[in-house]
C-alpha cells in the first residue's frame, strides 16, 4: 500500500506518521522552516544560558541539543524543498479544516476562561458547544450527555482525587463543606 488514500493520511497512529513519503504536503515546507527558525532561536537562547563556560555548565547540554535541532531541521528543510508538491491536497481542506480551527479556538478559549470563570462553567460550556456541533442532535440529548459526563469527571477529580481546579464564580468549596457538614452532622 504505497499510495496512501487521501482520506486516510491522518497519521492517527504514531507508528505510521501522517507524512507522505516522497511528496510534499501543503504547508510542510512552511512548518519545516518554522522549526528551523525556532531551533535557531533556541540555540541562541541556549548560548545565553552560560556560553562556553565549562563542560559542566548548565548551558552545555541545551547548546548541544539545540545545535542538533538546527542541523536536522536544516536537512529537513532542504529535503522537503526538493520534493514535488502532492496533488489534490489543499491546506484548508486536508491540514487545517474549519472544524479543527474551531476546536483549536475552543481550546484556547477554555484556557483563557478557566481561571476567571472557573472550571465547572467553562467545562460545561465547552462540552455542550462541542458535542452540539459534532453530533448535531437535540439540545436535550446534548445537555444530558455533557452534564452527566462533566459530573462524573468532577466527582472523580475533585472529590476523590481532591484536585482543586480553579473555582471561579462557583462557590465550590462552600458547597462541598455544606455536604460535609450534613454528613458529619448525621454521623454524630
Amino acid at each position: 500500500m504505497d499510495q496512501i488514500d487521501p482520506d486516510h493520511h491522518d497519521g492517527t497512529s504514531d507508528a505510521t506518521p501522517g507524512g507522505v513519503e516522497a511528496k510534499r504536503r501543503p504547508g510542510e515546507l512552511g512548518f519545516a522552516i518554522f522549526l528551523l527558525l525556532a531551533s535557531l532561536g533556541l540555540l541562541w537562547s541556549a548560548y545565553g544560558i552560560s556560553g562556553f563556560e565549562a563542560l559542566s555548565a548548565p548551558g552545555t547540554v541545551p547548546m548541544a541539543t539545540t545545535a542538533v535541532m538546527v542541523v536536522t531541521a536544516l536537512i529537513v528543510v532542504v529535503k522537503t524543498a526538493r520534493l514535488p508538491r502532492i496533488s489534490g491536497e489543499t491546506f484548508s481542506r486536508d491540514i487545517l479544516p474549519v472544524v479543527v480551527l474551531v476546536f483549536a479556538a475552543f481550546l484556547v478559549a477554555f484556557g483563557v476562561a478557566l481561571e476567571p470563570l472557573g472550571f465547572l462553567p467553562t467545562a460545561a460550556l465547552f462540552l455542550i458547544a462541542a458535542i452540539k456541533i459534532l453530533a448535531r442532535r437535540s439540545w436535550l440529548w446534548t445537555l444530558a450527555v455533557s452534564l452527566c459526563s462533566l459530573a462524573l469527571i468532577w466527582l472523580i477529580f475533585r472529590i476523590v482525587f481532591t484536585v482543586l481546579m480553579p473555582a471561579g464564580i462557583v462557590p465550590e468549596a462552600e458547597f462541598i463543606q455544606f455536604f460535609r457538614n450534613l454528613f458529619s452532622g448525621a454521623g454524630e
Binding site: S50, V61, T65, M69
Partner: protein, 502 residues
C-alpha cells in the same frame, strides 16, 4: 518459617485481601485515565489511611500501584493515548491492533504479559533483593549518563518515518526537558525571563498534549465515520501464544527489574528500552513493528510491570526509593511509625515478606480484573466520536492541571497538542519527543555530575569510564547500538553475508 507466615498474611486476612483487590481494581482505572497517576493516588492515600494500621494502608497502596502500572496500557491500546508514561511504547503496536478491531486480543496478551512481568519482578525482589540493590548502588553518575545515551539511541527504533525527523524530535524533547530552573545550579534555562516558565514543563503535560489533544484534533477529520467494532470473543491468549513469547518476555522482564531497581530510572524508560530490545531480537514478527506486532506489546508490558518489583528492591533493602511511588511509600511507612532504611529488613523482616505477599496478591487480582471487564472498556472506543473527542479534550485539560495543580501546565499541554497535530501531519514521530523529555534530566544532570567529579577534565572522565567494568560495558553497548543503526553497518553486513554465501 515465620517468613512464610508473613508472606501469607494477606491471604489469611480477608480484610487485607479485600483492600488489595479494591486497590488493584481502582488502580486499573487510575492508570487508564491520562492525568490521574499512581503517584497522585498514593499520596492522597497517605492522608486517607492516616489513622489506619500500617498493613491495610500498604495493602491498598500496593494494589493501586500494581493495577495502575498495568492500567496505562488500556487507553494506549484503545485510544492511542497512553494512560501513563510507561505505556507509551504499548501504544505503538497496540493502537494499530485496535484499529483492526483486535483490541480484545491485544488487551488479553497485555494482561497476561503484565502478569508474567509482575511475577518476575516480585520473584527477583523476594530472592535476590540485596544482590540487585548492591548492583544498583554501583551505578555512578557516568553510568547513568551512558544509560541515558543508550536510551536516546532508541530514537532510531521509535521513528518509523524519517530518521532525521526522529532525531530532530528527540533533540527537541531534550530541550523541552531543560526548560525552567536547572535543578543543580538554579540557573534559568529557556525561560525568556518569564515567571511562569521557571517551573519548567511537566512531561506528563507534554505527553497528554502530544498524544491526547493532537489525537483528538486529528479524529475531527472524520467525526462521522463509524467507530471500529471490536471483536472481544477471544480475550485470553492461547497457551501456545504465551509459550511462543515466553523467552522474549523473560528477557524484557529482566530489563524491567534492573531499570526499575535503579534509583532515578523507572518503568517508563524500562518499557521503551524493552520495546527496542524486542525489535532488535525479533527476526520475523508475524506483523511488522508499528503495524500491530505482538512482540511490541509483550516487551513494554512485561518490562513496566517487572519494574514494580524492581522499584521495591532499593526501597526494602536500603530505604532508597526506586521511583516516585516507592518514594511516597517510604513516607507512608515513616508516618506509620516505621523507620524505612537499611535496618528495616533486619528490624522488621515481617514487613518485607508482607509486601512481597501483597504484591503477589495484587498481581493475581490484576490478572483477574484485566481479563474481565474488557467489554466496558471497548465500549469506550465504540462511543460516537462526536462525544468521545470533546471528552478526551476535557480529560486532557483536567489531567494536565492535576499533575502539579498548575494552569501553566494546561497551557503547555494545549500548545503541544496543536504542535503535535502538525507534527503528525508532516510525518514527524512523536515518540522521540517524549523519550527526549524523559531522558533529558537523566542525561544532563549526570553528565554534569560526572564531569564535575573529574574536575572538568574530559580525559580523566574517559579514564574513569574505561577503568570501570560497568561503565565500559555500557560504553560498548552504546557504540554497538549506534553503529548498528548507521548505514555503514548494513553495508558491512551485506558484504559479510555475500562472502559467506559464495
Amino acid at each position: 518459617m515465620t517468613a512464610l507466615w508473613d508472606f501469607l498474611t494477606v491471604f489469611t486476612q480477608p480484610q487485607l485481601l479485600l483492600l488489595v483487590g479494591l486497590g488493584t481494581f481502582a488502580g486499573v482505572y487510575v492508570g487508564a485515565i491520562p492525568g490521574l497517576s499512581v503517584t497522585m493516588a498514593v499520596s492522597i492515600l497517605i492522608s486517607f489511611t492516616f489513622s489506619w494500621d500500617v498493613y491495610p494502608a500498604i495493602s491498598l497502596m500496593i494494589g493501586i500501584y500494581m493495577g495502575g502500572v498495568y492500567g496505562g496500557s488500556r487507553t494506549a491500546i484503545l485510544l492511542n493515548i497512553p494512560g501513563a508514561p510507561s505505556a507509551i511504547a504499548t501504544a505503538l503496536d497496540g493502537y494499530p491492533l485496535a484499529k483492526r478491531g483486535e483490541a480484545g486480543q491485544a488487551i488479553g496478551v497485555t494482561t497476561v504479559m503484565s502478569f508474567i512481568g509482575g511475577f518476575v519482578g516480585i520473584g527477583v525482589l523476594a530472592l535476590a533483593a540485596p544482590l540487585v540493590s548492591d548492583f544498583a548502588l554501583r551505578f555512578q553518575p557516568r553510568d547513568y549518563m551512558l544509560l541515558a545515551v543508550l536510551g536516546i539511541l532508541l530514537v532510531g527504533s521509535l521513528s518509523q518515518g524519517s530518521l532525521v525527523k526522529g532525531i530532530f524530535a528527540g533533540a527537541l524533547g531534550i530541550a523541552i526537558g531543560a526548560v525552567g530552573r536547572d535543578p543543580l545550579t538554579f540557573t534559568e534555562r529557556f525561560t525568556f525571563d518569564l515567571q511562569i516558565m521557571t517551573g519548567g514543563v511537566s512531561f506528563i503535560a507534554v505527553m497528554i498534549g502530544m498524544f491526547g489533544v493532537s489525537e483528538a484534533l486529528l479524529q475531527l477529520h472524520h467525526v462521522d465515520k463509524d467507530a471500529v467494532r471490536q471483536k472481544i470473543t477471544r480475550i485470553v491468549p492461547s497457551l501456545s501464544t504465551v509459550r511462543k513469547h515466553l523467552p522474549l518476555s523473560l528477557q524484557t522482564s529482566t530489563i524491567g527489574v534492573v531499570i526499575g531497581a535503579l534509583p532515578g530510572t523507572g518503568g517508563d524508560i524500562a518499557a521503551l528500552m524493552a520495546y527496542d530490545h524486542a525489535k532488535r531480537v525479533t527476526k520475523n514478527p508475524e506483523r511488522a513493528f508499528g503495524d500491530g506486532a505482538m512482540e511490541g506489546l509483550v516487551a513494554p508490558e512485561t518490562a513496566n510491570n517487572a519494574a514494580v518489583g524492581g522499584a521495591f528492591i532499593p526501597m526494602m533493602t536500603l530505604g532508597i526509593p526506586g521511583d516516585a511511588v516507592t518514594a511516597i511509600m517510604i513516607g507512608a511507612l515513616f508516618i506509620h511509625g516505621l523507620n524505612p532504611g537499611p535496618m528495616l529488613m533486619i528490624d522488621q523482616p515481617d514487613m518485607f515478606w508482607f509486601i512481597v505477599g501483597a504484591l503477589v496478591t495484587a498481581n493475581i487480582f490484576m490478572l483477574i480484573f484485566g481479563l474481565t471487564g474488557i467489554r466496558l472498556f471497548t465500549k469506550i472506543v465504540e462511543m460516537p466520536r462526536s462525544v468521545l473527542i470533546p471528552l478526551i479534550m476535557l480529560l486532557s485539560i483536567v489531567g494536565a492541571y492535576a499533575v502539579n495543580n498548575s494552569l501553566t501546565d494546561v497551557y503547555w499541554m494545549l500548545g503541544f497538542g496543536v504542535f503535535g497535530y502538525f507534527m503528525r501531519h508532516y510525518g514527524y514521530p512523536l515518540g522521540p519527543v517524549i523519550l527526549g523529555v524523559i531522558l533529558s534530566r537523566l542525561l544532563d544532570d549526570n553528565w554534569r555530575r560526572a564531569i564535575i567529579s573529574e574536575r572538568e577534565d574530559f580525559w580523566r572522565f574517559m579514564g574513569g569510564v574505561v577503568s570501570s567494568p560497568l561503565s565500559l560495558t555500557l560504553l560498548i553497548a552504546v557504540i554497538l547500538i549506534f553503529v548498528s543503526q548507521t548505514p555503514l553497518w548494513s553495508r558491512g553486513k551485506a558484504r559479510l553475508f555475500r562472502k559467506k554465501e559464495s
